[in-house]
C-alpha cells in the first residue's frame, strides 16, 4: 500500500510530517487555553472540572456574538466573559461550607453543556464570520507547507499567554499569593490573605481562558457551531495539566503533542497508509498513557502539585 499518492511535489513521509505539524497547531489551541486556565485555578488549590462546560458555552457564545455583530473578536471576548461567569459560580459555590469542588465541577460541566445546547439551537444553521489567520508559509512554493502554516491568531495569543502565565506565577506578587494559597492555606491565612477570594479570582481567570479556548473551536477549527463540537476536549485538557505537572510551558508542549498525535490517523490515511487506522486514531491516548508510564517515578510523582490540591477534602 501507499504507492498511489503521486503528484503534489512532497513525498508521503514529508506529507505526514507536515500534516502532523499543521494538525498540532490546529488542534492544540483549545487544549492549550483550557489547560493554562486550569493550571492557574489548580495552583490556587482548587480543581475546576467544569471547564468542559465552559469550553462548550464559550464556543456557543463566541459563535452567536460573532454572527450577530460580525466581529469575531467580540465573540472571543463574549466567550471569555461566559467563562468568567461560570468560573465565578464555581468559585462562589466552592466557598460555601462543606462543598466539594469536584462535585461542583461535574455539576457545572453538565450545566454549561446543557445551557449551551439549549441557547445554541438557533445557531446551528447560520454561518458566522471567522477569526483571521496568519500565513507563516509564504516562503514555500508548496501548497501543503503553506496550508500547514496557516496559523490562527489565537494560537499566537496562546503562546503569549503561556509566557505570561509562567511569568505571573513565578515572578510577580500575585503569582506568589496564588501559589501560597495553593501550597498552604494556613500560611496564607496567617499572612492575612482572603483565601476564598484568591481562589474565586483564580477560578474566574481560569474560566476566562477556557472560554476563549471554546471560541477557537467554533470560530476557527473546525469552525462551526454544532452539538458534537467538543468531544471531551475540555476534560482531556484538565488531565493534561496533571500530565504537565502544573507548569505552563509543559502545558504548551503537552497540547502540541496531543494535537500532533490526533492528526496522525487522518494524515496517514490521506497518503494511503490505511492499515490499522483504529490504532492510529487512538494515538493521542496511547501516547499520553505511554509518557505517563515512562516518566512516572516513585519519589517525584507529585512534584509540582499544589499541596492544598487534594481530590477529596
Amino acid at each position: 500500500m501507499g504507492a498511489q499518492t503521486g503528484g503534489g511535489g512532497v513525498s508521503a513521509a514529508a506529507g505526514v510530517a507536515l500534516g502532523m505539524v499543521g494538525g498540532a497547531i490546529r488542534i492544540s489551541t483549545p487544549f492549550l487555553f483550557v489547560s493554562l486556565g486550569e493550571c492557574i485555578t489548580e495552583k490556587s488549590g482548587r480543581v475546576n472540572l467544569g471547564l468542559e462546560g465552559t469550553l462548550v458555552m464559550g464556543a456557543m457564545a463566541a459563535y452567536g456574538v460573532s454572527y450577530l455583530t460580525s466581529s469575531p473578536w467580540l465573540g472571543v471576548l463574549a466567550a471569555g466573559g461566559c467563562g468568567v461567569v461560570l468560573g465565578a459560580l464555581h468559585g462562589w459555590l466552592c466557598a460555601r461550607p462543606r462543598v466539594n469542588d469536584v462535585a461542583v465541577g461535574i455539576a457545572l460541566m453538565l450545566f454549561g453543556v446543557g445551557l449551551a445546547f439549549f441557547l445554541g439551537k438557533p445557531l446551528i444553521g447560520p454561518t458566522a464570520p471567522h477569526l483571521p489567520s496568519v500565513s507563516l508559509g509564504w516562503w514555500s512554493a508548496s501548497g501543503q507547507v503553506r496550508s500547514a502554516l496557516q496559523v490562527n491568531a489565537l494560537f499566537v495569543l496562546g503562546l503569549v499567554t503561556t509566557a505570561a502565565v509562567r511569568f505571573v506565577l513565578r515572578k510577580t506578587r500575585w503569582g506568589l499569593v496564588i501559589r501560597t494559597v495553593g501550597e498552604s492555606a494556613d500560611a496564607a491565612r496567617a499572612m492575612g490573605y482572603d483565601i476564598a477570594r484568591v481562589r474565586l479570582l483564580a477560578t474566574m481567570a481560569g474560566g476566562f481562558l477556557a472560554g476563549v479556548g471554546g471560541s477557537f473551536l467554533s470560530l476557527f477549527y473546525p469552525g462551526s457551531w454544532n452539538e458534537g463540537l467538543s468531544s471531551g476536549q475540555g476534560l482531556m485538557a484538565v488531565a493534561l495539566v496533571i500530565f504537565a505537572r502544573w507548569d505552563p510551558v509543559r502545558c504548551l508542549l503537552a497540547s502540541l503533542l496531543f494535537g500532533g498525535a490526533s492528526a496522525l490517523g487522518p494524515a496517514l490515511q490521506s497518503v494511503g497508509v490505511t492499515s490499522g487506522y483504529y490504532l492510529f486514531n487512538a494515538a493521542p491516548y496511547v501516547l499520553t498513557l505511554a509518557i505517563i508510564v515512562l516518566t512516572s517515578s516513585r519519589d517525584r510523582a507529585l512534584l509540582g502539585q499544589p499541596a492544598e490540591l487534594r481530590m477529596a477534602r
Partner: protein, 387 residues
C-alpha cells in the same frame, strides 16, 4: 463553626426529605405508567382522527445531515390532514430511546413511531414493540426479518448509492487532479456501498480517477472530520464527499480551501455556494406520505420497504453553477437509466482494490441483491482499506 454544622445538619435533613418524596413519586409514576398503556392507546385508536405520529432523532434536527433529512420528511407529513406529529431530538441509542418511545405512546397518545436512527432497532424497538402491540414502529435501516421480528414493526431504507453513483459521475467529470476524497465514519456495508458506487460512477466517465478514503471511526467527530478534509486537500484532492451524520464541517472546510464538494443526506448547497457540485439526498417526505396513506386507509403496510431514485426514496441535489454541460449530460443519462430500472451498478467482471475478482464476469447484482448488503470490499480505484 457551630452555625455551619447546624446548617449542614438541616441541609442533610432536607435532602433526605426531598429524597424520600422523589422516590415515592417515582414509584407512583412508574406504577401508573405500567398500568395505563393498554386502555390509553385503545382510546387513541377508537377516536381515529387525528393520527399522532412520533419522530425520534439521534442528533439535532438542523444538522444539515441525517437527522435534518428525516425532520424534513416529518415536516411534509405534518401538513397532511388528520395527522399530528411529535418530535424529540438528541436521543441516544440507549435505554433513553425506550423511555422516549414510552412517553410518546403514553403521554402523547402516539400510535405510529418513527425512531429514525439505525442503532434504535435492536434491542430497543424490538422490546417496545413486544410491549405495545397496537403501536406501529417504523424504523430506518432495512433490518426487518420475517418471522423473527414482531409484526407491528416495519423497516425501510433507500438505495442512496444510486444518487452517489450520479454524484460520482459529476465529480469524475469535474476533477482536474483526478483525485477524489471520501470521508467516511465506519467501514460497514452501507458505507462501503456508497464509496464503491461513487468511485464506479466517477470511473465510468474518467478511468483515471481514484478515490482516497479516510475512516474517522464514528458518526459525528467534527475535529477529526476537519482534519481529514485538510489532509486530503493537502494531498491534491479537489473533490470531496462524505458519509458522516453531519456533513456541515466537511462542506465548509472544502469551500474555505477552494475545492469542490458533493453533499450527502440533505442539500448543503447553502454552505458552499462556490464549490457545491451536487449531492446524494434522502427524500423521506415521499416515503412517510406513503406509509401514512396506508395506515390511515387501514391497509397492511410492507414490513420491508426499499427504493432508489426510481421509487423516489432518494434524489440528486440540483447541479451547481460550476458543473459543465458535458458533466450534466452524462449524469442525466445515468439518472434516466436508473429511472427506467435498466441500470445495474454492480456487474462482473469487478475487481476489488487488491486485484481480487469480487463479481465474476457475466454476473449481475441488482440493487435488491442480498449479496450487496454484505459488502466488505473496496473496488479498484479506491485508495484505502476496510480494516
Amino acid at each position: 463553626m457551630l452555625k455551619a454544622r447546624a446548617f449542614a445538619t438541616s441541609v442533610a435533613g432536607w435532602t433526605e426529605w426531598i429524597g424520600t418524596r422523589v422516590a415515592a413519586w417515582a414509584i407512583f409514576v412508574a406504577v401508573l405508567g405500567g398500568l395505563t398503556p393498554g386502555p390509553r392507546s385503545h382510546r387513541a385508536v377508537a377516536a381515529s382522527p387525528p393520527l399522532t405520529i412520533g419522530f425520534i432523532y439521534v442528533g439535532p434536527k438542523s444538522d444539515y445531515g441525517y437527522n435534518q433529512a428525516h425532520a424534513q420528511g416529518a415536516a411534509v407529513i405534518a401538513k397532511l390532514p388528520g395527522v399530528k406529529i411529535r418530535e424529540e431530538e438528541m436521543v441516544p441509542e440507549t435505554s433513553a430511546v425506550q423511555k422516549t418511545m414510552e412517553s410518546m405512546i403514553n403521554l402523547d397518545g402516539a400510535t405510529v413511531l418513527f425512531p429514525t436512527s439505525f442503532g434504535y432497532f435492536d434491542p430497543h424497538i424490538l422490546k417496545e414493540a413486544a410491549k405495545y402491540k397496537n403501536v406501529t414502529f417504523l424504523h430506518c435501516g432495512g433490518l426487518y426479518t420475517e418471522g423473527k421480528h414482531p409484526t407491528n414493526v416495519g423497516s425501510y431504507f433507500g438505495y442512496i448509492d444510486e444518487a452517489q453513483y450520479v454524484a460520482g459521475i459529476v465529480a469524475g467529470m469535474s476533477t482536474k487532479s483526478n483525485k477524489l476524497g471520501f470521508i467516511a465514519a465506519k467501514a460497514i456495508p452501507q458505507v462501503l456501498r456508497n464509496i464503491n458506487s461513487y468511485t464506479l460512477g466517477a470511473r465510468s466517465v474518467n478511468p483515471k480517477a481514484t478515490t482516497t478514503v479516510i475512516f474517522t471511526g464514528d458518526w459525528s467527530m467534527p475535529v477529526k472530520e476537519a482534519e481529514a478534509a485538510n489532509s486530503l486537500i493537502d494531498q491534491g484532492i479537489d473533490v470531496l464527499t462524505m458519509h458522516v451524520d453531519s456533513p456541515k464541517v466537511i462542506v465548509e472546510t472544502a469551500e474555505r480551501r477552494g475545492i469542490m464538494v458533493t453533499g450527502y443526506h440533505a442539500n448543503q448547497a447553502a454552505l458552499a455556494p462556490k464549490g457545491y457540485l451536487t449531492g446524494a439526498e434522502w427524500n423521506w417526505g415521499k416515503v412517510y406520505t406513503d406509509y401514512v396513506g396506508m395506515i390511515q386507509a387501514g391497509k397492511p403496510y410492507p414490513h420491508l420497504l426499499r427504493g432508489g431514485l426510481k421509487e423516489g426514496f432518494v434524489k440528486v441535489s440540483p447541479y451547481g453553477k460550476m458543473v459543465s454541460a458535458a458533466a450534466k449530460k452524462k449524469a442525466d443519462a445515468a439518472k434516466a437509466k436508473f429511472m427506467d430500472g435498466k441500470m445495474v451498478v454492480y456487474k462482473g467482471p469487478l475487481k476489488d482494490n487488491t486485484g481480487k475478482v469480487v463479481i465474476a464476469a457475466g454476473v449481475e447484482q441488482k440493487q435488491t441483491d442480498i449479496a450487496l448488503e454484505k459488502m466488505d470490499y473496496l473496488v479498484e480505484g479506491v485508495v484505502g482499506k476496510t480494516h
